[in-house]
Symmetry: C2
Subunit: 490 residues, 2 copies
């Protein structure tokens, strides 16, 4: 790409000024349209050291009201960030609907840096490329405008800039060791950059190479490409996108109606088992912590199935400094304004920690599907998106445990009535619970489809038969222990 790239033709000074003026006004005018159409815009600015990425962003944002944009300079990942999945710190930065996010270098810089400075195998490189493609595709599939700039300068120009910047006491700090290294190994860098650009040049999120030799000219190129991209995004409302074939290994699961629910456990056995398993889990939690294995546990299930009590029996065994429970209700406005997985990406545990989700991203294919909170294309696409998400977690080394807490309709009624009739339990039952209950059959169909399509070998669903809640608790503990043991043995 770099070898063949052809910039727009650089205009004469006077023409450049006029076009800059027009483009700046155009961008300023597009702000409110983006807001009205709820289109989020992610602008990734990558490029050579000293190519002027920061200045370019500085120029672009002059035209945008501060309420509508953010800028994130992405340095090398912090220690905390290194304990999250590769893409986590980028996903957490995605803009809200109707707003801009400018990233001063990002996932390209991180990955090509790893390629150039060793420590990455071909296999890992390819895995990262897959992750990045999926990430960008998930964004554009979900209505994001993703504009990717690469600021290009020649080796000679870079050398000149390094010399000039270094020669001045006020600008010396702006030249990094890496900039110097790049200039010395320009051709090698160019090969790595070029391969990356080719590998991630997608029709829906293409690369734009900017001639960064002069700042005003770079600004004009970026402005014209950006405003044109916005214009196109504004034309596309509630776009539907092709549903991809599942490429993840699935395990066969029963339908809910096929699950026997007559399991029980005797009180004495329950107590002794609970004690034994909890102390085993406690010991494992310490080892997890030392071995830096992250664990993600999520609970889904019918109302009144006993999720809360089940979670409690797990957390009782855990060191409070090493886990967090995330109760998931309907999204806050700032969450709703982003990709639906954003609020989960930003709640991931660090390595060695445990995150427990009381309800989860699977709301997309249950409540959001059935209540019409997202389009049909959205929820149909979500099975794959969630498998992709969990694949990221798996590749990062996480243990993923997904529980479906199952009861029958009569048991639910019994528990609802008990809650209704017991004053101190009454807060636990709402009108919404009754309304959901009325839709049991359509929910059951949706749950069957969800379990069928998202039981991957690396993140299968586990059914907890919870008519006898105690039985379900013991089963959950056993599964958690078993899965953690497996991970620690690997």
């Amino acid at each position: 790409m770099l070898k063949n790239v052809q910039y727009m033709e650089k205009p004469e000074e006077e023409d450049l000024k006029q076009r800059l003026k027009r483009a700046r006004e155009k961008l300023a005018g597009q702000q409110m349209l983006l807001k009205d159409h709820k289109v989020p815009v992610l602008v990734l600015v990558e490029g050579w050291g000293t190519a002027g990425k920061g200045s370019l962003i500085g120029d672009l944002i002059q035209n945008i009201d501060p309420r509508f944009f953010k800028v994130a300079p992405m340095d090398r990942p912090s220690e905390e960030e290194q304990r999250k999945p590769f893409l986590c710190r980028y996903f957490s930065k995605i803009p809200e609907a109707g707003k801009f996010m400018f990233l001063d270098s990002g996932w390209m810089d991180e990955l090509t840096g790893m390629c150039l400075h060793g420590g990455i195998s071909q296999k890992t490189y390819e895995q990262r490329i897959d992750s990045i493609r999926r990430f960008e595709r998930q964004l554009t599939d979900n209505g994001y405008l993703v504009i990717k700039f690469f600021c290009h300068i020649s080796q000679k120009e870079q050398k000149k800039r390094i010399k000039e910047l270094t020669g001045n006491i006020d600008t010396k700090w702006r030249v990094s060791e890496d900039d110097r290294w790049q200039n010395k190994h320009y051709e090698k860098c160019e090969l790595v950059f070029d391969r990356y650009l080719e590998d991630t040049h997608a029709p829906s999120a293409p690369w734009y190479v900017i001639d960064a030799k002069s700042q005003k000219w770079a600004e004009l190129q970026a402005l014209e490409i950006l405003t044109q991209g916005i214009e196109i995004a504004l034309q596309n409302q509630s776009l539907a996108v092709p549903l991809l074939q599942n490429v993840f290994p699935l395990v066969k699961m029963p339908k809910l109606s096929e699950i026997a629910l007559d399991q029980t456990i005797e009180e004495g056995e329950y107590k002794s088992e609970l004690k034994r398993l909890q102390s085993q889990l406690q010991e494992l939690h310490n080892r997890l912590y030392r071995m830096k294995v992250p664990v993600v546990i999520l609970y889904e299930g019918w109302d009144a199935a006993g999720k809360g009590g089940n979670i409690k029996r797990i957390t009782e065994a855990l060191d409070p400094r090493g886990f967090e429970v995330h109760p998931i209700a309907s999204p806050e406005p700032h969450e709703k304004a982003r990709h639906y997985l954003w609020r989960f990406w930003t709640r991931l545990p660090k390595t060695g920690h445990i995150a427990i989700f009381d309800r989860s991203w699977y709301g997309r294919v249950m409540v959001e599907r059935l209540e019409g909170f997202c389009s049909e294309n959205d929820w149909k696409r979500a099975y794959n998106e969630m498998n992709e998400f969990e694949k990221e977690l798996h590749d990062w080394g996480a243990v993923i445990i997904k529980f479906w807490v199952q009861i029958d309709k009569d048991t639910q009624l019994e528990r609802f009535e008990n809650r209704r009739d017991t004053p101190e339990k009454r807060w636990k039952i709402t009108d919404e619970d009754w309304r959901n209950r009325a839709k049991w059959d359509v929910y059951e169909e949706a749950v069957d489809e969800m379990i069928e399509k998202t039981s991957t070998s690396y993140a299968p669903w586990h059914i907890l038969e919870s008519v006898d809640k105690k039985y379900a608790r013991i089963k959950a503990l056993k599964i958690v222990i078993e899965e953690i043991q497996k991970a620690l043995k690997e």
Copy 2:
């Protein structure tokens, strides 16, 4: 992809039957919707020999009215087809808006076949992959639904089928040498197929791998994927797509207003030059023919600029068996119903032949742009699409000569008035010519943009100053001769 592919879960016999019934009815019901929404559907069926590609297509079309579909079994390219660009025979098969085209293997089979049976360098492979990506992207960008199936069977299954088919006198003919070869070199084929699938798996035209072990089950998978794809395509009306950065080398061109038009040629010189150049061209045409170099010449220019007379001076020198002139008017209904480049792809010359286009694909960014016959996104995208198209022609080895025949506004008026006032010339002037003349300024702007954005180094525009038509004729002849000579020398 093949290694990781996960099929949908195969249902039990009874369930399969019911789902087949539903899917067939759904496809039948979608026919009229596709017609109403004018969506063209291209279904490419690739896969292993004996995997049942033909039977699958046979099953699918049972649900579609014969008025709405065509099937093209793509054999190895004929000798005639081999004298056209690689993609030509595929482009010529694209369906009309609202109709289906089923291709029984296609560009994948052709390219992977070349990989497997030698005779293709890594460089050519990559060039073809680029061509294919552009081809598929041009289709989906222009509103085509492109569904790509790969029918997958195991080596064992293939072996079994070959044995069974060969054992029966009636089916013996269905096993080709290539099928046997594939089965013997299954792993090698799998690698090549897999690389190809990865290389061409685009978000807008993804691959779907079909488990082709049982015919009914394969039909169900294909039907469900196809109907789902149609459903999604129907939701997207007049989609706008990102405009890609130009990656083709451009040459700098003057604006029309900067072109001096005072050149003339003296009558005596004209006559002797014409004679000399025409006989030179005649001789070159013979050599072109022998060397099998194809030539594409196109003329654009103002009304009454003298295109016809200019073309005549070229063709006078040519052997009528080796050239064709294509006058391009507004598209016929069957042409309008397809990608706008279709009527040009299907008019390409064979190697060794010359095609002269009197007006051309550039109508997209002139009349179609200015009269609103296509959307803004359409014509803005077209510069790149036409550069891509001409790149295909160039890579195929064609000489591409593009003429803009230039006159000034006063000269046009003089010629219009002369036509109007001369009875035998009156047919040459229409009301539309006068209407177009009234829009001279916006046309001039569009022509300037066209010339700037599509003067690639491999297919630059040549300006013919045609106030003195004779001067323009001599200049055209010289350019044609020079360009052909360059190509013959290479």
